[in-house]
C-alpha cells in the first residue's frame, strides 16, 4: 500500500509511461499526449485524459488499463477524468512517439497548412522514405489513420492523420 504522503506525481507519470494504446501498441499513452494532467487529491490519484477522436472506441479500454497499472503498483484510490477541452491535437505527440510509429510502419503525422481544406501532401513512405506517395483513402483501419501507397516501393501504408 502506498501512502499519500509518499506519492509524487513523477511516480505516477512513470507508471503511465508503461500504458500502451490498445490499437497501436508501440505507442504509450504519454507518447500520444492523451494524459493531460496528474493530480493528487488527499489519498486519491486523479489522472486526466482526453480522447484523440470523439468516437475513439479505445478510450474506455485505455481508462481501464490506467486503473489496472496503478492498482498493480499499489494505488487503490484512483479517479480517471476525461476532458474534451482543449481538443487533442497530433501536435501533442512526442518526437519519440513519431519515431516509434515510423519504425512500426505507420507514417507519423506531418503538419501541413491546409486552410483551403486540400488533402495532405508530401507524406513519406515509412518503408523506403520516398515522398512519391498517393492517398488511397481518407479513412484507414482506425479513426486516426488514412491509407496511402508508395509509388516507388509500391507498399501500401497507414498514415497517422494530422488532427
Amino acid at each position: 500500500m502506498v501512502t499519500a504522503s509518499s506519492i509524487q506525481t513523477k511516480d505516477i507519470w512513470e507508471i503511465l509511461e508503461q500504458v500502451t494504446d490498445p490499437e497501436i501498441p508501440v505507442l504509450t499513452i504519454t507518447d500520444l499526449g492523451i494524459v493531460r494532467d496528474v493530480k493528487l487529491n488527499a489519498d486519491e490519484v486523479e489522472v486526466i485524459i482526453t480522447p484523440t477522436y470523439t468516437g475513439c472506441p479505445a478510450m474506455d479500454m485505455i481508462a481501464i488499463n490506467i486503473k489496472l497499472a496503478l492498482l498493480e503498483n499499489g494505488y487503490s484510490k484512483i479517479r480517471i477524468t476525461s476532458v474534451l477541452a482543449p481538443a487533442w491535437t497530433t501536435e501533442w505527440m512526442s518526437e519519440a512517439g513519431k519515431k516509434k510509429l515510423k519504425e512500426y510502419g505507420i507514417a507519423p503525422p506531418h503538419a501541413i497548412t491546409r486552410s483551403d481544406g486540400a488533402s495532405d501532401s508530401v507524406i513519406a513512405c515509412p518503408q523506403c522514405n520516398s515522398t512519391n506517395t498517393r492517398l488511397i483513402s481518407e479513412f484507414g483501419s482506425t479513426a486516426c489513420k488514412a491509407l496511402y501507397q508508395c509509388n516507388d516501393c509500391k507498399e501500401p501504408f497507414d498514415y497517422f492523420k494530422c488532427h
Partner: protein
C-alpha cells in the same frame, strides 16, 4: 425551480445528440455493404465519429436532467428515457425514448437509397454541421463549446470526403449523374428544416437561420463542379426537431432499441 433556459438546454442537447445518433445508425447500415472496402471503412468511420458526438451530447443531457430532477423531484419535466430505477444515462436516452421523443432532423432518418443518396445526405448534413460547430465552439455553454470544437476537426474531414464524392458522381458517368439527380429530388425537401429553429434552439442554441446563406453557397459551388443543378423553390418538410417524424424513424428505433427493449438492463 427549473428555469425555462435549463429545459431548453436539455432539449437542445438532445436534439444535437439524436441527429448524430440517427445518422450514425443509418451510415452503419452500410457496414459490410460498401461499394469497395475503402469506402465501406470510410462511411463506418464517419458513423463512429457521429456516435462519439452523440455520446458526448447524451452524457451532458443526462447530467442536466439528473441535476434538474434532484433540484425539483417529481415536478421536473421529463424528456423521457428513464432507465431502471428512474435514473437517466446516455444509454437510457438513446435506447428508451420513443419516436415522438426523438428530436433529430428529418434528413438524418431518410433511407440510404443507393451510394449516391447516402453520399448526398452526408454532404448536405456535414455542410450544415460544419457551419454550426464553427459557431457552437464559441458557445457560452462550456460543454457544448468543447464538444463542438473537438468534433469540428472530424466534421471537416466528413465534409471534404462527401464533397469529393458528390463531384465524382455528379461529374462521372451518365448513370451516376442520373442517380445524383434522383437523390437531389429525394433529399432536397428535408434540407430546409436544418435552418428553421425550434423554440428550444432559439432559446438555448444559436440562430441556425443565419447559416443558410453560407450553406447554400457551399452547396452551389460543389454542385457547379459536379455539374448538378441547385433545385428551385421546393416545399420543405419539417417536424423532426419537435418529434414529428417521417415513417422511417420508427423502423430505425425498432432495430436500434431492440435489445434493451427485449432484455431491459442487459449489459455487454
Amino acid at each position: 425551480m427549473i428555469s425555462q433556459m435549463n429545459s431548453s438546454l436539455i432539449d437542445y442537447t438532445l436534439h444535437l445528440a439524436d441527429t448524430n445518433l440517427i445518422l450514425a445508425q443509418r451510415n452503419a447500415e452500410w457496414c459490410g455493404h460498401g461499394p469497395i472496402l475503402e469506402q465501406d471503412i470510410a462511411i463506418t468511420n464517419t458513423s463512429l465519429d457521429l456516435i462519439g458526438q452523440a455520446r458526448n451530447f447524451y452524457q451532458y443531457a443526462a447530467l442536466l436532467i439528473n441535476e434538474s430532477k434532484n433540484n425539483q423531484g417529481l415536478k421536473a419535466p421529463s424528456p423521457g428515457g428513464e432507465g431502471v430505477g428512474g435514473e437517466v444515462t446516455e444509454d437510457s436516452l438513446a435506447y428508451l425514448r420513443t419516436e415522438r421523443e426523438f428530436k433529430n432532423c428529418l434528413l438524418a432518418e431518410q433511407p440510404n437509397g443507393d451510394w449516391g443518396q447516402t453520399i448526398l445526405r452526408q454532404f448536405f448534413f456535414s455542410a450544415h454541421q460544419f457551419l454550426l460547430y464553427e459557431k457552437l465552439q464559441h458557445s457560452t455553454d462550456e460543454q457544448i463549446a468543447a464538444i463542438a470544437a473537438k468534433a469540428l476537426k472530424e466534421v471537416t474531414y466528413h465534409l471534404r470526403w462527401s464533397s469529393e464524392w458528390v463531384v465524382r458522381l455528379g461529374n462521372g458517368t451518365e448513370e451516376s449523374h442520373q442517380r445524383m439527380l434522383k437523390a437531389i429530388d429525394e433529399l432536397w425537401r428535408y434540407t430546409g428544416e436544418m435552418f428553421l429553429p425550434a423554440a428550444y434552439e432559439t432559446e438555448a442554441g444559436f440562430d441556425v437561420s443565419l447559416l443558410k446563406g453560407d450553406w447554400f453557397k457551399k452547396i452551389a459551388s460543389v454542385f457547379e463542379e459536379a455539374t448538378l443543378p441547385v433545385p428551385e423553390k421546393v416545399f420543405m418538410q419539417t417536424g423532426g426537431k419537435t418529434g414529428t417524424h417521417t415513417e422511417h424513424l420508427g423502423y430505425i428505433l425498432t432495430e436500434l432499441q431492440y435489445l434493451q427493449r427485449t432484455y431491459p438492463g442487459a449489459t455487454w
